[in-house]
């Protein structure tokens, strides 16, 4: 059934200044009424219709829905306010009924804006500062709670959630091995490749061994690993805990006497503290292997020569320093990821926000801590 569809329009018929007929035509539905909005608006704004009687004639309306009704009701109200007498003519029984229903339920747009929208810039800045300070305070409280329960766990090792720890070692550690080894391999390769050019100029080819090994063991492997894990696991922890907060799982745990810090945070944290040194060691090996390949191809240093030289010239302390940093990074990544998860509130939007914040924070703190380590260790001469 093909029905003619006509855009809504308005015909104004002024028999005398006192009596005006508005003939409504066409489809007054949400799809077609848009064209009549301005016509109606212009009519209602006219200043010469102060005390006229206005008749809305429905006889040529093909169809009308709530969008059309709202438009008409709005105009009727505006005209009545101006002092016009308004009547409706030729409406079907159904249109009449809908009109009454929509007049009863009509509500003008005005929405009370929330308090605080119109505050000045100074209070805006003030509010941000307060929020920021409160954030720091919350984090300190979280760290306090965490230390408390960690201490309790050390006192009573039986309460440790071993299964959960193993699960998180697998999820955050073992499954990260492919991506960590790929990145680490490429970094080792690139460092050696760029270094090879320069060393060749001095004829100091063999120093490629110290250059690659020390930089990878001491700085690159721990940093690359921590950054990859921060991106993978901090986000996962925030999203997991955030979702649990929204679905009230965290509250449910509290009511059952399961302390969320013990059940959710400590296993994740210990898992990262255990797995990060292991992954870093793996990354050390893969990164140096990348360097060995370049040394072999570009500088004619065979694998055995490389390893002999490394054994003779590279002290063990460089590997140890890298491995000592790793659990610290793991602890920070897990703490930030979980803390941001607990901050999630209310809506699903907030999960996205806090996940972003958590990854950015975690990566920043990994880099900042690494710088701190570097300065302190160099100052004390290690």
């Amino acid at each position: 059934m093909k029905r003619r569809s006509l855009r809504a329009s308005l015909e104004i018929e002024e028999t005398s200044p006192e009596s005006i007929v508005l003939r409504l035509k066409g489809d007054w539905t949400r799809d077609y009424a848009g064209s009549a909005v301005r016509q109606l608006d212009r009519f209602c704004k006219r200043s010469d219709i102060g005390s006229s009687s206005v008749m809305f004639d429905f006889s040529e309306v093909d169809s009308i829905d709530s969008a059309g009704m709202v438009l008409i009701v709005k105009s009727i109200n505006r005209l009545v306010k101006k002092g016009c007498t308004v009547a409706v003519d030729n409406a079907t029984e159904e249109q009449e009924r809908l009109l009454v229903f929509h007049r009863k339920n009509f509500r003008a747009k005005k929405i009370s804006s929330k308090a605080g929208d119109s505050l000045g810039i100074s209070s805006l800045i003030f509010g941000k500062v307060i929020d920021y300070l409160r954030g720091i305070g919350d984090f300190l409280v979280f760290v306090g709670e965490l230390s408390h329960y960690l201490f309790m766990t050390i006192l009573k090792p039986g309460t440790l959630r071993v299964r959960a720890i193993v699960k998180h070692v697998e999820l955050s550690g073992v499954k990260a091995l492919p991506i960590v080894s790929l990145t680490s391999f490429l970094v080792g390769l690139v460092v050696a490749y760029q270094g090879a050019e320069q060393l060749q100029k001095f004829g100091a080819n063999i120093f490629i061994v110290e250059m690659v090994s020390i930089s990878v063991f001491r700085e690159l492997a721990p940093m690359i690993t921590a950054i990859v894990i921060a991106g993978r696991s901090a986000s996962a922890y925030t999203a997991e805990i955030g979702t649990m907060k929204i679905t009230e799982e965290v509250d449910a745990m509290r009511t059952m006497g399961f302390e969320p810090v013990v059940f959710l945070v400590i296993p994740r944290m210990l898992a990262l503290m255990i797995s990060l040194p292991l992954i870093v060691f793996f990354a050390d090996m893969v990164g140096v292997f990348g360097g060995m390949i370049i040394a072999d191809l570009h500088l004619d240093i065979s694998f055995t020569e490389f390893i002999d030289r490394m054994h003779a010239e590279v002290p063990l302390k460089h590997i140890v320093i890298g491995l000592i940093k790793a659990p610290v990074f793991g602890m920070v990544i897990a703490a930030i990821g979980c803390f941001r998860g607990f901050q999630v509130e209310g809506s699903t939007d907030s999960i996205g926000n806090y996940t972003t914040i958590s990854v950015v924070n975690a990566i920043f703190w990994v880099i900042a801590l690494n710088a701190l380590f570097s300065v302190i260790l160099t100052e004390i001469g290690i």
Binding site: R30, L98, F101, F106, R107, K109, S112, S113, E345, S347
Partner: protein, 246 residues
């Protein structure tokens, strides 16, 4: 005989080996308030999801507003979706949008009405479902469960649907709010000529709002009819369902 808005014929649904529906048939006439009842796990929500094309069924046919859902073209599906409104059990409001934006979202997407008119239509729908003006500026996370349902209903009504699907509209509401909600549904049906299909457990809703219903039991339709007809029917499942003593 009234025009049939929804016809369900011999629907079979399986989840793996688990058979949920085994030959379910019934039909819903225009202007009816129709209930899908049954115990937990009887597949009534699944049936509702099948009618609104969120869930596939294995055998049988479902016709909605004259369209056959099996193998429906995407254009037909699109136009069907604009002719019905759905209220989900917990409202399913978009959490990034305010209440007013939630109600107006389909109008904004599908029509070229000016923003101010859309806001007024949305406000009018909000008043229809009995929400105060100040609720319009709130976000879903700031609403109570009952308010979420009302906003969900206003959103479902935004496009003037012919068909309204409600999933447990009164669950989680206090008795007074539940009763008001039932009255609202009946009033909207009378005023706007809607056909309403709802999944419900609420005895008061069943008695006071539903015209007819089916009770699903043991993968089949146990009975189709009115409350009076169902009460007169001797079956343990029905007695259990209506909590009839003896």
């Amino acid at each position: 005989m009234r025009e049939k808005v929804i016809v369900v014929e011999d629907v079979v649904t399986r989840f793996g080996k688990n058979v949920v529906h085994d030959g379910v048939s019934f039909s819903i006439g225009r202007g009816e308030i129709y209930g899908l009842l049954g115990g937990s796990g009887s597949g009534k929500s699944t049936l509702l999801r099948e009618m609104i094309m969120l869930q596939r069924f294995d055998k049988g046919e479902i016709y909605v507003l004259g369209k056959r859902l099996r193998g429906i073209s995407s254009a037909d599906a699109e136009s069907l979706r604009r002719r019905w409104g759905v209220l989900f059990q917990f409202g399913a409001l978009f959490s990034s949008l305010s209440v007013l934006e939630n109600v107006g979202v389909t109008l904004r997407e599908y029509t070229d009405l000016p923003r101010s008119v859309i806001d007024e239509i949305a406000q009018t729908k909000l008043k229809m479902v009995g929400l105060p003006p100040k609720a319009a500026a709130l976000y879903p996370s700031e609403l109570s469960g009952g308010m979420k349902k009302r906003v969900g209903l206003a959103r479902a009504l935004a496009m003037d649907p012919e068909l309204l699907f409600l999933d447990e509209p009164t669950s989680g509401l206090d008795p007074a709010s539940a009763e008001a909600f039932d009255r609202l549904i009946v009033e909207l049906r009378n005023m706007l000529g809607l056909t309403v299909v709802m999944v419900t457990h609420d005895l008061d809703t069943i008695k006071h709002a539903l015209d007819r219903f089916i009770i699903l039991h043991n993968k089949k339709v146990l009975i189709e009819g009115t409350y009076e007809e169902a009460v007169g029917y001797e079956h343990y499942a029905i007695r259990d369902f209506f909590k009839i003593e003896g």
